[in-house]
């Protein structure tokens, strides 16, 4: 790693230029590792909600076999995995994007030969390896040891789950990115981050499954892309959706992903035109 004391200087070890976005993801990962303790507590705290929701639902299920088509076993599983997925793209991804804009460090990303949106995806990927890894530990420990969650319904549903999870990850990063772009106009992001977090948790189905929402809200949630982040992968996991239904859900996710990608790039161009870098 370091040049000190070795005969061959470390920079000579490089053999070929790496892919720039992978290299960015790796560097972000290294940076995220520097904050692993903070991240551990950030993720851990969100799992308090899992415990609260667990007891709420247990009370609701007493004397009932199923609510909105979900058995108690399935609901338990839903609650734990929903929070596990939610923690994949954590607080740091959004705050890092906003901080770059607020402090003006965004200039460096603008004077490099990089597509800004891809850069954000690459960085989110780096953060997610750490945040997602920690989230996975919590999900497995709490889910398997304490709350006894179910395994995926079938092998096919497990595969669909993973596919939907990946598209959902990209969707969430783009949504967070779009919200963070508002910082160019407001120049202060904390309020934005909080409201974004709250809205996303409701409409993605993290707090309650979409099936339990009142009709009008359910309609909104089903049309918007946010369901693809938590609800869609979980529908697959629990085996609630298969065949043409699954094709439809994945298709909707994919269409939204493409749309968000286009909007994100356009929004960045627009933000770029009004930009006023902070601090001279």
């Amino acid at each position: 790693m370091t040049a000190i004391g070795s005969n061959t200087p470390a920079w000579r070890g490089r053999t070929t230029p790496g892919s720039k976005y992978l290299s960015l993801a790796r560097t972000t990962l290294q940076q995220a590792i520097a904050y692993r303790i903070t991240t551990f507590f950030n993720v851990g705290l969100t799992f308090i909600w899992v415990i609260i929701l667990y007891y709420l639902w247990r009370a609701a299920y007493s004397g009932r076999a199923s609510i909105a088509g979900l058995s108690w076993d399935q609901m338990r599983t839903y609650v734990v995995i929903a929070y596990g997925i939610n923690a994949l793209v954590g607080w740091r991804t959004g705050t890092a994007m906003m901080a770059a804009i607020r402090t003006g460090d965004v200039v460096f990303e603008m004077v490099r030969p990089l597509n800004y949106c891809t850069t954000q995806l690459a960085r989110a990927l780096g953060f997610t390896v750490v945040e997602g890894g920690i989230s996975m530990i919590f999900t497995l420990v709490i889910g398997l040891v304490f709350l006894h969650i179910q395994a995926p319904a079938t092998v096919a549903s497990a595969l669909l789950f993973v596919l939907a999870l990946i598209i959902g990850f990209l969707t969430k990063v783009l949504v967070v990115f779009l919200v963070s772009l508002l910082t160019f106009w407001t120049l202060n992001g904390m309020g934005l981050m909080w409201s974004q977090q709250a809205i996303m948790q409701i409409l993605s189905g993290t707090i309650v499954p979409l099936a339990l929402m009142p009709g009008w809200l359910q309609f909104i949630a089903k049309v918007l892309p946010l369901r693809g982040i938590v609800s869609t992968p979980l529908e697959f996991y629990l085996g609630k959706s298969g065949g043409w239904d699954a094709v439809g859900l994945i298709g909707l996710q994919a269409i939204w992903l493409v749309a968000l990608w286009i909007v994100a790039n356009l929004a960045w161009k627009r933000a770029f035109r009004v930009v006023e870098i902070q601090g001279g």
Binding site: M1, I4, S23, L24, V111, P113, L114
Partner: protein, 345 residues
Amino acid sequence: MSPIVSAEGLVKQFRRPKKGPGLAGAVRHLLRPRHETVTAVEGVDLSIDEGESVAYVGPNGAGKSTTIKLLTGILVPSAGRVQVCGVRPHVDRQANARNISVVFGQRTQLWWDIPVLESFRLLGDIYSVPDAAYRRTMDELVDVLDLGPLLGVPARQLSLGQRMRCDLGAALVHSPRVLFLDEPTIGLDVAVKARLREFVGSMRAQRGLTVLLTSHDLGDIEELCPRMIMIDKGHIVYDGAFAEVTRRFGWEQKVVVTLADGATDAAARAGAALARVQPVIDETATGLVVTFDSRSISSGEVIKELAVALPVVDLALEETSAESIVRRLYEGNLTFHPADQEITR
């Protein structure tokens, strides 16, 4: 040879929200937002040849940083044309990014929490620097900037001087053709400053690097930049040799007079003696400072008149340095008349 950096009639205007004071002002702004247009750069023309080293100076808020941001593609001009290495920066930002590099004295482009070497490697990847070139550049940078002991240290643990050395190195990993330095020596001690200047000078000599430097430190300018462009309130007020400044604007001269004890009404008497050239006379504890326009009266004559009118103990003629001219410009005490501006380049 066409210039490597050129701008014609470059204008940048910002729209700023206009808010009244206090909570009431904030609420009123929320209901009926008003904006005012601020012009940061107003019709700037630039022409810099490859390999030149140019100082870009002016008081705070004069439009220096805005110009740099226009040249680096960070800002989109409101009007006018700009070209760097044959590329229009805001149109093809990525192509421009490959040709240039920027160092900001007040920001770092190093990744804060990871060893410096990792930042260098990432930059090498971002600019797709081929392996042989990467090694050659790194060997050179590590040698000249003495980066060896710093490469394993996370950027946040570096002192300001060390950080600046690393930042300069990081800016050159992809061998840019144009280097923008925005107040690179701010806050650095004398020894580090000297070293950085030497480094930038040698890069320019060896690689033919074009350097555009903004600085408030005249030492930077004197040592690095034969040419100086001065901007004030969005307009270019001087473009020429640094040494020329004195000749062109140094017409204001000063005579410091020490008077014998008990001299009364000294200022009034001096004023009367020199009435025809309307000097500016300031009283000091020991005498007077007489400031006059050397185009309308010679210093010899001023001294002669003062010696006759007052009980003079000592006289000193103060030469106007480029530094004092720049300082007075910054303080707003020197206005450039259109007649002074015949740009000879």
